[in-house]
């Protein structure tokens, strides 16, 4: 890639499946550029393919055509690390052993990877729980471990697939605050998928609105809310205005998606 190019470059990406009723196109010739150190949020109606897009970038799903390029700033670092919606921790490993999983698989020596893991656990405030098992933790804590695990892997790009969706509203707010703090400290490139418009605006530098299926980029909104940012940003008048503006775009797509679902009832 050319110097000065984006951190993540998605060009004309098409993802399709052959399903029961023929070819189902999840994403159609979608293109997106993400700069280094940027926090980009993807929003869109259900089924628009935002999670699919994330999975393709993570290498978890294939694509039919188009390209996904992730610039390697430092050789030896993994390209991506994903934070899953249902944390997906290994239940038989302690918190610490879960966080070291990525570096462990890459052959990083024990002392180094454990030190790194403890640093990450410190960052998410879970140092005291290093020896606990996932089933002993609350939902919010498990999700924080998931974040620590992804960060410990030191990726070029951090991918987050609706990481806070499975949590109750109060825990969500707490973790949103923590994410803001973490990101301000680490400055890693993030692609974040969420259903919540408010969350996207709170966390992101840019909000990308996807269309209903097949997914394409409908519009991209820069978020001029300043950094470092805290929860108080929600009270700013610009925040509310942005919510309205983006919702207007999003609403169309949500309605169209609901309409499409009505046309094809479950069998």
């Amino acid at each position: 890639m050319a110097p000065g190019a984006s951190q993540v470059s998605i060009r004309d990406l098409t993802v399709a499946y052959s399903g029961r009723d023929g070819r189902l196109v999840a994403l159609e010739r979608i293109s997106l550029e993400v700069e280094a150190g940027e926090f980009v949020c993807l929003v869109g109606p259900s089924g628009c393919g935002k999670s699919t897009l994330l999975r393709v970038v993570a290498g978890l799903a294939g694509h039919e055509s188009g390209t996904v390029e992730i610039r390697a700033n430092r050789p030896g670092r993994p390209a991506t690390a994903m934070v899953f919606q249902e944390h997906a921790l290994l239940p038989w490993r302690t918190v610490l052993d879960n966080v070291v999983f990525g570096p462990e698989n890459r052959g990083v020596p024990r002392a180094e990877r454990e030190a790194q893991a403890r640093r990450m656990l410190d960052l998410v405030g879970l140092r005291a729980f290093a020896r606990a098992y996932p089933h002993q933790l609350s939902g919010g804590m498990k999700q924080r471990v998931g974040i620590a695990r992804a960060l410990a892997n030191d990726p070029e790009v951090l991918l987050m697939d609706e990481p806070l969706a499975a949590l109750d509203a109060q825990t969500r707010v707490i973790l949103q605050e923590e994410l803001l703090r973490l990101w301000a400290e680490l400055g890693v490139t993030v692609i974040y998928v969420t259903h919540s418009l408010e969350e996207a605006l709170l966390l992101g530098d840019r909000v990308v609105v996807l269309t209903a299926r097949p997914g394409r980029v409908k519009r991209v909104f820069p978020v001029p809310l300043g950094r470092p940012r805290g929860l108080e940003a929600r009270a700013l008048p610009e925040f509310g205005a942005l919510v309205d503006t983006i919702w207007a775009e999003l609403r169309e797509e949500v309605l169209e998606s609901a309409e499409a679902e009505r046309r094809v009832p479950p069998s």
Partner: protein
Amino acid sequence: MIPLILPALVLGAWEIASATGLLRPVFFPRPSTIATLLVAQIADGTLLGQLGLTLARLAVAFVLAAVPGVVVGLAMGMSRRTREGLDPLFALIYPIPSVLFLPLVSFALRAEEVAVAVTAAFTSFFIVAYTTMTGVQQLDRTVLEAARHFGARGPRLFLTVLLPGTLPAIFTGLRLGLGYTLIVVVAVEMVGAQRGLGAQLWLSWQILRVEEMYVALVTVAALGAALTWGVERLRRRLIPWAQDIGEVGA
């Protein structure tokens, strides 16, 4: 304490009923008589000898069932082709009571002890294999995906994810298999052995030494209970993160 009330009451009533002739002592000897005989047989070593023999057969049979069972179960869980290849064969053999294979196995293997062990291993093998296979199939797919995503491949994926993830199911299979092996070992001893708890059970019936039969019965029951308890303790030790998944339908 409470759990012991009911059995204590039953035993007490039995003692009285038998002593007063309400229950025919020929069929229902007094628990005190049985207990006395039990102690005597332990003291002179005969009971421990019988128990030891049954236990030894059980151990050999169980290992014969468990090791291939886990291996095959894992293979069947990981590879669809293996599963489809073996399933019809297994499904046909599985419903046949193990004890019926005794004649067959005795033909093939001259050594009596080996024959007993192999016979008892049959159905247990299938139980362990199927339970293990189901364990692999029920692995949380997201966890598997996450592990792959964080760089675990091939042998590492197997050791760090597949095996620990299936361990609860394997344990359930081993627990069920052990219970079943005990059933068959006792049954086989009843049919074709001269010594062992099952043999004592059967032979003492034939000569109407009812107290001896009860002693054998109590010992078998105690053995079964002890094994179940032991497996449960082991499971809690080795798999602190999981609950027993319970019965898996065949």
